[in-house]
Amino acid sequence: MAGWFSRRQFLINAGLAGLALKSPSLFANTSGTPSLSPIMRQIPGANESIPAIGMGTWITFNVGGDEQLVAQRTRVLKTFFDLGGTVVDGSPMYGTAADVIGEALDSLGAHDRIFAATKIWTGDESETRQEAARSGRRWGLDQFDLLQVHNLLGWQGHLETLKQMKANGDVRYIGITTSHGRRHREFAQIMEREPLDFVQLTYNVLDREVENRLLPLARERRIGVIVNRPFQGGSLFRRFQSEPLPDWVGEVGVSNWAEFFLKFIISHPAVTCAIPATSKVEHMKENMGALYGALPDADQRQRMADYVRSL
């Protein structure tokens, strides 16, 4: 990864500068903070930062061999990179999503712009390396930045192998995932005793159970947190998009519901990165708007949660 960060940062800044000239309103400075700086989060225990908004690929990138849709998803990924994103998360469980990401990375020549995260998803605990290698071929990568055990499936065996892979330099970071609030007790036990770099879990303005135990534990154990289902699988938009945003959210750099939901998440001090998924360029632009500007403080976060509950 020598030289990787500086080149990536150069590309990000070049893209942002170009975009700012075309669409100044996207980066409107509402808080006095430098408007062109993406919100970066340090990976706990590592000398590396990543953008606080990443991209998930569940459902959205599973388009099979449809060339028209592959081209369209490539435009989504290009927009993501152009607006400063790097973290892309996938899983072998997501059908053809890995192949589509690989094809898009090839088209964009963007293999060096990505923080690549995928999962080990097999009940065969002896298959860890083979599955990582298969995923690497599909993404077109020699190695992943982050490998995670998907939904704790066969986690004991996979995690042991992942620790060895990390020690050998075959992967930079390792972790475990859950979603929909499942198996949190067991998840916490693993966080307490295993040397994890990341955990991935579900957190959004309505699903806040992780605030009680898992997020404080992640801070205590210096584990990075990737947040999936930030829009509750799209249901937050279906429920609230027709409602007006509160007047005061301009103070926290929010101009649409996507930014509202995402800034609520990434402003939690334990959260490293949220990974919304989308199949549309316009929605990607809205999501990436949350990577800039001010963030709500603790009081403002409470007002955001109260407002949503009041609707």
């Binding site: 459902i59 599973n62 388009v63 028209q68 059908g95 929909h180 609030g181």
Partner: protein, 225 residues
């Protein structure tokens, strides 16, 4: 995983593609097959014509065409196009091929009866299936290339195949039924999650047509006449 974990899953968690991608499958296969759709149309017309011609061979040929339709829609659409984005679809694709083999075996080994069918009722229902159901995908997607033709699209093929229950005998019929029921339930659940409400008509129609197949089947007393 514990039982409580499984209960925390919803149908939505098992559908890992969006409606746009699913509806595009019909457009893609029609574009790739063009102009061979004409063979599917000929088969859709030929099956009822052959069923009502005199002689056992004509009826067996009709069942043989239906067997080919099962296999082609299973291998072509389900394994080739749908399977890559949805693994269960590939399994169903192979089950469709097996259903075709089963029908062919019924045709060869005396599983097709020669009793008289009600021409008017059968043809009316067949026309509704072969000419009506293909338009539902078009209504859902808004693209005329998405026509779900008999012999290509699995839903239309299964619905038409349900009517063939009327000419299969005894144990062959009971072997033929499970896929019709399982496919209808699977596709109905999928369309429910995808919120493609027009498409729900096809699996519901398939289940009703299974009943119609029994209803149209000659009674033993009539067969003996």
């Amino acid at each position: 995983m514990s039982g409580a974990d499984w209960l925390s899953y919803s149908l939505q968690d098992f559908v890992m593609f969006g409606p746009q991608v699913f509806l595009r499958l019909f457009v893609r296969i029609n574009q790739d097959l063009w102009p061979w759709q004409v063979l599917a149309v000929v088969a859709a017309i030929g099956i009822p014509v052959l069923l009502f011609r005199q002689g056992r061979n004509a009826r067996c040929l009709a069942v043989g065409l239906m067997a080919v339709a099962w296999a082609v829609s299973g291998y072509g659409f389900l394994v080739g196009y749908f399977g890559p984005i949805n693994w269960p679809a590939a399994w169903f694709g192979w089950a469709f091929v097996a259903q075709g083999v089963l029908l062919a075996a019924a045709m060869l080994f005396g599983g097709v009866h020669g009793g008289a069918l009600s021409f008017g009722r059968f043809v009316a229902l067949w026309l509704i299936v072969a000419c009506g159901l293909p338009w539902l995908v078009l209504a859902e997607s808004g693209q005329w290339q998405a026509l779900a033709l008999f012999g290509i699209a699995p839903g239309t093929t299964a619905a038409a195949g349900a009517l063939i229950v009327a000419v299969i005998t005894g144990p062959w019929r009971w072997l033929y039924l499970p896929l019709l029921v399982l496919w209808s339930l699977f596709s109905a659940a999928m369309f429910w999650v995808l919120q493609t409400s027009w498409l729900l008509v096809t699996p519901v129609a398939t289940l009703l047509l299974v009943g119609a197949g029994f209803w149209l089947s000659p009674r033993p007393a009539r067969s003996l006449d």
